[in-house]
């Protein structure tokens, strides 16, 4: 395991809670008796009535897996754990931060999902996983699993920019959040956009690697420019893209940049940022360019969520650091078939999107049901997830472009590539308007699948 239980307890806030009690005794493990009592007590969920699957992470992946395991076999006991009290989606959020749709649209109720899906929801923070005793430790107590699913999603990897400077990283996270981990970042971004005024220069970065929501930064740039246009704000959006070209739906975004937002968007491909001065709000690039900005969404590279490290199941992938060390066909951890990893923490080069995680979740859930029935999983159980995603390019009326794709495995290259892919990138005519309608119904369909 990457870190010991002792370290985990030290880092957890509970040690601090324990320290406030009158008598504090550190035992041989370093934990105080008070903290130990809480941490080792059973988590407040009903006793398992059948084989228990514990799922950590209630994003589109974990929510789908929880619901569809119960659908596949109602006798399996499912506990979904998430540290957040409320669900907020990343998908559709660019339309919320720019005031087109209300916060309600992307905000949902974990308890509704648990009620309708007949599984247990535990709002708790996981701080350790012991795969030998098959036990998950949370701040609400611990629980045993027969099968564990880790769907913790991503974290940001600021190392390219911060080079280990924690103060810089923390300042960037606080002042200019990337806005691709929903929650406070979404709200920050919303207020940043509401505060735009004449002379504003907003920087949106696009990271390298297989980052979450490929079209997201371009869509957001369009929508911020559209916000400026609608509100008659004389401002600029500067898109600093680490990639040599727009990474997806390039024709659609490029033509939107040119035709709709010529006076608003400056697109700078192949831009490697060498330094960021968050106080003077200045970015320097490899080519010596200096970009002054008034506000920004600095989307750094991403990595697998650190929970994978805690569980000792992480490995650097071709694309990102610390992603899940799994068999790409069965989603089972190499060397521990009782642990599955899915969603954006997967190392395969699939599009990291809610829709991909949702379609993948159904496949993973079906395989877990089979595995619990004693079936051995293999490549024969693999099915491609589907990526269908819409991006808005203009708000009034709403116009959107889209992409849809499956994946196939190339045995020679030992990697996955797109298969049967298609795009709809003509945002101007009736197609773009239909796409706009489609985008909302696409989102609502996903919420229905996750919660209703």
């Amino acid at each position: 395991m990457a870190i010991s239980r002792r370290d985990a307890i030290k880092f957890s806030g509970l040690a601090a809670i324990a320290a406030t009690t009158v008598s504090v005794h550190a035992d041989s493990n370093g934990a105080t008796t008070a903290s130990k009592r809480v941490l080792l007590s059973p988590a407040p969920v009903p006793a398992a009535k059948g084989k228990r699957v514990v799922i950590v992470g209630g994003g589109p992946s974990g929510l789908t897996i929880a619901k569809y395991i119960k659908k596949g076999n109602p006798k399996v006991d499912v506990v979904l754990i998430d540290k957040r009290p409320v669900f907020m989606s990343g998908f559709i959020s660019n339309l919320v931060v720019t005031g087109v749709l209300p916060l309600d649209f992307i905000t949902h109720d974990f308890l509704e999902g648990a009620r309708n899906g007949n599984y247990n929801f535990l709002q708790a923070t996981v701080y350790d996983i012991d795969r030998t005793s098959k036990r998950v430790y949370t701040n609400e107590g611990s629980l045993k699993y027969d099968v564990l699913v880790l769907a913790p999603g991503i974290d940001y990897d600021y190392s390219k920019w911060s080079k280990g400077d924690i103060e810089l990283e923390n300042t960037l996270r606080t002042k200019f959040p990337g806005g691709f981990i929903p929650g406070s970042e979404t709200l920050s971004l919303k207020s940043k956009i509401e505060n735009l005024e004449d002379g504003s220069v907003f920087v949106q970065t696009v990271p390298g690697g297989n980052y979450r929501c490929l079209p997201g930064p371009y869509e957001r740039s369009c929508l911020i420019a559209d916000y400026m246009k609608r509100n008659k704000i004389k401002g600029k959006v500067i898109v600093l893209d680490e990639n040599p070209n727009i990474t997806i739906k390039a024709d659609g975004f490029q033509s939107a940049f040119n035709k709709l937002y010529k006076d608003y968007i400056t697109y700078m491909p192949s831009t490697n940022i060498t330094s960021i001065d968050p106080h003077n709000q200045k970015i320097t690039t490899e080519l010596g360019e200096v970009i002054n900005f008034t506000d920004a969404a600095l989307y750094s590279r991403i990595r697998g969520n650190k929970l994978l490290e805690i569980a000792g199941v992480s490995k650097d992938s071709t694309f990102n650091k610390g992603e899940a060390n799994i068999d790409p066909f069965t989603y089972q951890v190499i060397g521990d078939k009782n642990v599955f990893c899915a969603g954006d923490a997967r190392p395969m080069g699939f599009s990291k999107s809610g829709n991909t995680a949702n379609t993948e979740g159904k496949i993973v859930a079906a395989n877990i049901v089979k595995y619990l029935n004693g079936e051995n999983l293999s490549r024969a159980n693999w099915k491609s997830p589907l990526t269908v995603c819409y991006s808005a390019v203009e708000c009034d009326p709403l116009r959107a472009i889209s992409v849809h794709a499956e994946y196939s495995y190339d045995d020679a290259k030992k990697s996955f590539g797109f298969a049967n892919a298609g795009t709809m990138e003509k945002w101007e005519g009736a197609e773009g308007l239909a796409g706009g309608k489609g985008l909302k119904e696409w989102g609502n369909g996903l919420y229905r699948d996750l919660f209703a």
């Binding site: 659908k71 596949g72 309708n116 829709n355 379609t359 159904k362 589907l386 269908v388 849809h404 049967n420 298609g422 709809m424 197609e431 239909a434 796409g435 309608k437 489609g438 119904e441 696409w442 369909g445 996903l446 229905r448 699948d449 209703a452």
Partner: protein, 241 residues
Amino acid sequence: MDRRNFLKVIGGVTVIAVNPSLICGNLYAADGLLYAAYEKAQLVDESGKPIKASSLEKEVTYIFNYPYASTPCMLIDLPESTNQNIKLKSEMGEEYVWKSGVGKDRTIVAYSAICSHQLTHPTRNDSFIQYVPKTKPTMAYSSSGVIVCSSHLSAYDAKAGAKVLSGPASQPLASIVLEHASDDTLWVVGILGSDKFQDYFKAFKPEFKQFYNGTAEAKKLVSISAKTVKLTQYSKELIQY
């Protein structure tokens, strides 16, 4: 609990489940498990006149609500005869057989218009789901003449029991069991396959308030006749790509 009992308990209505081979329906389930009979209703036009099978326009999507006041179904007269005895599977792995379309040339089919993927369906405002005629292209599948839900691009085979052809849907659309009478009128008698009605009733309560004065009205069973109109009349806007 099997589906038959489930419906009895949940619906609070009497659903008579009989092996469809015992009735004169044109579709049947292999073991009757995925078949539910509802009150037989006649398909009528807007003015209440019975619809004649021979008067249907080819490749046009018609909509009627059945077996509940709020559950939309598609009626389509296809350009060619349907396939026969199609083996289908629900997402839970239950198998059933869709026999054929009805009418003189077995070209007329009816399916639930609630997408089996994420419940997208026609409303008075818009529809993302419809039959795409042979001459119109669709992004969802390599050829047309199929039913497409443009929300997440699922394509269903209209001439083969709405079997999934492509996209994220994991089971066919539920089939509406049609009867074609000797006077050329059309009747609906039941549902074959896995319907999504209970999920639908859970998911769309605000919509039922808006369009049906609430869930109770939305859940009323259709009786005697089902008004059948073109999708273009049913929904203000059609979205398809």
